[in-house]
């Protein structure tokens, strides 16, 4: 009898092996969907099941929701890619062999991310993240066009440097924990470290946190460590872009936050707040400005992911129950919304046969339904009601202003600048006289709509159990 948290990790890995063995890519796609569905079921099971703290795995208010979102988005992404990826075969961008590989890797990636999420061991967490990253590197290079390889190469180098820095940070944490908790496993077990944080050496913790911030921050996509993110999003297959923006960034931020909790446990250590505020604001404002010059629709939304990650990091840097709550909410909302946007972008790219803004015009004339969905998704990410992002941004801005009025001007400025770009692009794409071809779209719109529904629901009503988790996690974050 296996536990939920084991299932969450093992199901994808097992599926990866099976899919690697399956010959036909069609069956592979179906298998991918089934496996993701199973993982999602496991995720729900985990969500409803008891919370456990083992020596290797931990299930608490903080990560249970992320596992749920992870498996959910994984499921919808698999659904989307099943209906989408066939198109890539037709256009000859991929060969069946590569698809087989793709499906196997997809599951492996999901498994690794879940591993990183449920791991109670900072080493395991690191392993999971690293595996997930390396796999996405391969996925990004999948099309083997010069651009794709360049993107993958850039991603690979930056990411692996980040990985090694993160590992060094992990070692330092161990070193900090070892005198307190003794040698071996305990001083790598997160829950014990968390409990003993107060007795650790602050200077060592500072050092560790800096290395971890740079290391995991690279995967979060914080400026100036963001460089890999836009190209990786733009050149990889669209489902992978959705997973990257929707999940991998979250998992990296999740890891970062775990260590922030550690820091919060040791009062005489460096306060990570200001550093995170600065980095968050830099990312937010920089990305907002970068939006204006983008001509590739996927790269555009990649930068918007950087912007939102910056906002989250800012919120967590502000700290306090309200800001942390808002940050967590924003994390959840962003991953749902952004992945739905990438699904929509996939549709658009199929409909117009291009990813370039200049060749996408008047969607509301040629593809009304798609245009509406796309518009709703973009407006949602822009933080307009009735969607959940509005709630989180409402909380972040109000509480920031209430505490430090002048500081609040900066995120507001960044958000407004970004909003301008989003609105400009939205109007250009869906309005006006249509140009270029208007193909039939055969990708399924279920995932997109499903996500939008969820975000809408969250904007109208947050279930108390969810709120409870967020509350608890927010308290832990200090």
């Amino acid at each position: 009898m296996i536990e939920a948290y084991q299932a969450v990790v093992l199901v994808p890995y097992a599926a990866a092996l099976v899919l690697a063995a399956l010959p036909s890519y069609r069956i592979g796609a179906v298998g991918n969907v089934i496996a993701s569905a199973l993982a999602f079921a496991a995720g729900l099971w985990l969500m409803l099941g008891p919370q456990t703290v083992g020596s290797y795995a931990i299930v608490d208010e903080f990560n249970v929701l992320f596992v749920a979102i992870n498996t959910l988005v994984g499921f919808t992404a698999a659904l989307f890619s099943a209906s989408y990826i066939g198109h890539e075969i037709e256009t000859g961008r991929l060969s069946p062999g590569f698809l087989r590989f793709y499906h196997a890797m997809f599951q492996a990636m999901m498994g690794s991310m879940n591993l990183a999420l449920v791991a109670n061991n900072i080493g395991l967490m690191w392993v999971g993240l690293e595996l997930a990253t390396l796999i996405t590197v391969v996925m990004v290079g999948l099309y083997r066009t010069p651009q794709a390889i360049e993107a993958a190469w850039k991603y690979f180098i930056l990411a692996s440097v980040g990985i090694s820095l993160a590992f060094f940070g992990t070692i330092l944490v161990y070193l900090a924990g070892q005198p307190v908790l003794g040698e071996g496993l305990p001083s790598m077990t997160w829950s014990l470290l968390q409990a003993a944080a107060a007795r650790m050496d602050p200077a060592l913790l500072d050092l560790a946190f800096i290395f971890l911030l740079i290391g995991y921050g690279t995967k979060v996509g914080l400026a100036p460590l963001h460089a890999w993110l836009p190209d990786a999003h733009a050149e990889g297959p669209t489902p992978i872009s959705a997973v990257l923006s929707g999940l991998l960034l979250n998992v990296a931020l999740y890891a970062l936050l775990r260590f922030k909790m550690l820091m919060a446990g040791q009062p005489s250590a460096l306060d990570p707040g200001p550093i995170m505020i600065v980095m968050g604001l830099v990312s937010l404002i920089f990305a907002a400005f970068m939006l204006y010059q983008r001509r590739d629709i996927k790269r555009f939304f990649a930068y918007s992911s950087i912007e939102h990650m910056g906002l989250m990091v800012f919120a967590f840097g502000m700290g306090g129950p309200l800001a942390n709550f808002a940050g967590l909410l924003h994390m959840a909302m962003h991953s749902l919304t952004k992945s739905s946007i990438f699904f929509a972008v996939g549709h658009v790219a199929q409909a117009k046969g291009t990813q370039r803004f200049a060749e996408i015009r008047g969607l509301s004339v040629t593809h009304p339904r798609l245009a509406v969905a796309f518009a709703l998704a973009v407006l949602a990410i822009a933080g307009l009601p009735p969607f959940g992002v509005f709630a989180s941004e409402f909380l972040i801005l109000t509480t920031t202003f209430a505490r430090q009025p002048w500081l609040a001007l900066l995120p507001a400025f960044g958000l407004l600048v970004g909003f301008g770009a989003l609105l400009l692009r939205l109007q250009d794409t869906i309005f006006g006289e249509p140009v270029g071809p208007a193909h039939r779209v055969d990708a399924s719109s279920v995932p997109m709509v499903m996500h939008l529904m969820l975000v809408l629901a969250a904007g109208l009503y947050l279930p108390p159990v969810l709120v409870g988790w967020f509350r608890r996690a927010a308290e832990l974050l200090g």
């Binding site: 395991l124 690293e130 083997r144 060094f168 070193l175 590739d296």
Partner: protein
Amino acid sequence: MKLAYEISHLLAGVMLVVSFAQLYQQRIAAVLNAFAAQSITLALAVAWAAWSEDRPDLFITATIAFLLKGVLIPVALHRTVTRLGVHREVEKVVGVGMALLVGLALCGLSQALVVKIAPVSAGLARDELALAMAIVLLGFLMMIVRRNAVTQVVGFMSMENGLILAATGAQGMPLVVEVSVAFSVLIALFVFAVFVFRIRERFDTIDIEALDRMRGDRR
């Protein structure tokens, strides 16, 4: 015990010196040799730690370090480099002197950071931590002062060396970690190989400036 410490300390010092040598070297071939030397020293250090602290599991790490980074990769890269005919290329961004100065500054920084740690608290001697950190930072530095993909790989791997030094130095760090490190290096090599070959197929050079030609939104 004193002696054990002295030896491990000595080996770590040697590694640091070798990383400076890497920074100093002009030709790729020489850089590869220096890297090989560093990896072998690392292997020795790990082996010594395994013997002195009686942690047999560390021997695995030592062998992995020796075979993989001490022998296989340098040889493979030598091959690639000679096949590409770039083995005597000099692609520095900043002059040697400058690089060495920055390297020294980094060593100083890592010292300054480490002395703030209370002596008793750390699981390993503070100066060994300082050495490891310096090696990591120097590896990083090497990645950014060289233009050439191979040297970047080397720089990256000497970062890994520093990491492993620190990891082994950290007493009683569970086995899972070394395995994961070795595993990751494996994957890293595999992926590197894939990319180096692909790159060669497409652009007859492994200078990464060439890759930077096609980049987002320029089209």
